[in-house]
Symmetry: C2
Subunit: 391 residues, 2 copies
Amino acid sequence: MSLQFQIEATSGPGRRGRLITPHGEIETPIFMPVGTLASVKGVSQDLLEELGVQILLGNTYHLYLRPGVDQVRRLGGLQRFMAWPHPILTDSGGFQVFSLSELRKVTEEGVTFRSHLDGSSHFFSPESSMEAQIGLGADIIMAFDECTEYPADQDRMRKSMEMTLRWAARGKKYFEEHKNEVPWGSRQSSVISRQPNNHIGQTQSLFGIVQGGMDLALRKESAERTVEIGFPGYAIGGLSVGEPRSLTREVVESTLEHLPSDKPRYLMGVGTPEEIAQYASLGVDMMDCVLPTRAARHGLLFTSEGKISIKQARYASDAGPLDPNCGCRVCSRYSRAYLRHLYASNEVLAQVLNTVHNLTFYLDTMRAVRHSISLEEEARFLSEGWSRPKP
Amino acid sequence: MSLQFQIEATSGPGRRGRLITPHGEIETPIFMPVGTLASVKGVSQDLLEELGVQILLGNTYHLYLRPGVDQVRRLGGLQRFMAWPHPILTDSGGFQVFSLSELRKVTEEGVTFRSHLDGSSHFFSPESSMEAQIGLGADIIMAFDECTEYPADQDRMRKSMEMTLRWAARGKKYFEEHKNEVPWGSRQSSVISRQPNNHIGQTQSLFGIVQGGMDLALRKESAERTVEIGFPGYAIGGLSVGEPRSLTREVVESTLEHLPSDKPRYLMGVGTPEEIAQYASLGVDMMDCVLPTRAARHGLLFTSEGKISIKQARYASDAGPLDPNCGCRVCSRYSRAYLRHLYASNEVLAQVLNTVHNLTFYLDTMRAVRHSISLEEEARFLSEGWSRPKP
């Protein structure tokens, strides 16, 4: 088995669990920081470990352009390339090329797109996305889907969903035929990377993605037919594309009902700290979002007292910590005045420190969610007069 | 006493010692990383501590513009402002305004200059530089000097040197009258910063600066007359301004002979790793340079095997460490291929990691110099049949 998922506690639809991948275990619900180009911008890997990051997300589109899949594959896969010997998930590139709205053309075969770097032309298909993701060697990889734009009419949503289903089947077929080519999966790979290999015979895990726009019936159909194709985990895609948050929540809640409860469920590309806590309580196991890292670069900081825009002049003389209730390296050492100065002076350390704090805030949020699910479970056991087995 | 200097070992003209400042002890010879705007670009203070940085240099010109001297003073001085409870040295602003050649006008009174940020007009004099540096509150501050341009004729060199001497006397006078206004020096200051204050009654130490262009006789005269004014430490300024390196060395060696051996000697703004080791062996106790941090930002890395330009394509597939003989966090974790990818992709982590390595290389160089001076001293004691007192 290259992926195991154990549910250890539940609280209503929310669940606390453990996902076991070739490169390590992940406690769920989990927040996955985004490391677009094999780096969480400004934060070194040892600091990510210290923050308690358990899994990173890499973007196939960006890594395919730089440094290139072959480069990463020859160096033993993303984990070795970036010196992150822990779990990694890559997206399929589908959402990224979807974002290049002016630069892409979608056909049944796949997507032709132009690089945002040099305008060069490239082609991604369900098969070539698998090929790229196998070369990158993340522990969890994603089916190549079409992210339906918002708003879209009924006909467009159905056609897009149907194509994503056909692409999912094509991707799975390619993956099954080539999954042993993962850089860390063979004896050959240890020779290439000149390092011991504990992963011989293990493979990546391919997750399916549910689409269907904002139509709940299409979402149900997409979920059921994706489950029919069969994957070790399921993602909900096509959200956070401009729709109101109440609608996002409605689609998430409704779609989750049609996904098997014994498989991990990944909600892609959301959200604020409040939202990720809420989605976790609805039964989502995995989430990723650029918000904590991107907001940090713009001086927007999440704190227990609300959002702070550190660029504001009122912080220039504020000797207090960024968040008095946060124990991170930033809050325990630096003042708001200093953080404001760094940001206002365009110092690189501003980005580093802001990112460390925002990631801490997200990771602490998920820790609290996991803890509260465990407590509720415990409360339920106690109220029913059971005693829990000791760990 | 606000500054003590103890020489603990010598090797030829080189000496190993200990400089005791209000915010801590420094082992000399020491390399001081440059933290222009109260930050060593990209590297957090806890990481600087881990690297073994003992003293930082701040630039008065830059800090005066952003965040402003009053801001820093009100927040308890630079050490508290930037959460670096260790020694700091500030330059006088003289060299910085000298660099703004198009934007400055020098008179006997001082220098009128335009901000490189917004073109606004400002004025620095020997007195106002002291006022700014007292407000910033570094442990060691520098006299306001005129850095003579290179090349310069005899007349120009003499006139410039004479003015620097008059400015030194004016600066010292102002400093003596105002030194108790340092933000951490009074009971008042603990109230302002709401923190305990261990520095009541202590003051900063003002160093004089020797000028005189590239003329050895003028350098001798400048040294002798600066010593006559009287300072607890002496710097050699006006070097590394475009002259050949052999000339720099000649001027340093010659000037050192005219500086008192019981006072710390600071050579400003040099140099490569080879040069700082060489100057230390000539009897220089303190040095600063932007080279390790600036070169890092341009992908130029100092290693035990020579300089490396990490942007070069030949490193794209190089799985080896940056410097196999370096034990820093970067060399012990990441490959040249990864560092090359970060740099080529313009990732902020490139700057962070490159800076950490280059600083390590400089600090290790100085550690080795200190060690070798101690060993030589020990060898001498042994050969003379003495036994050293135990520490």
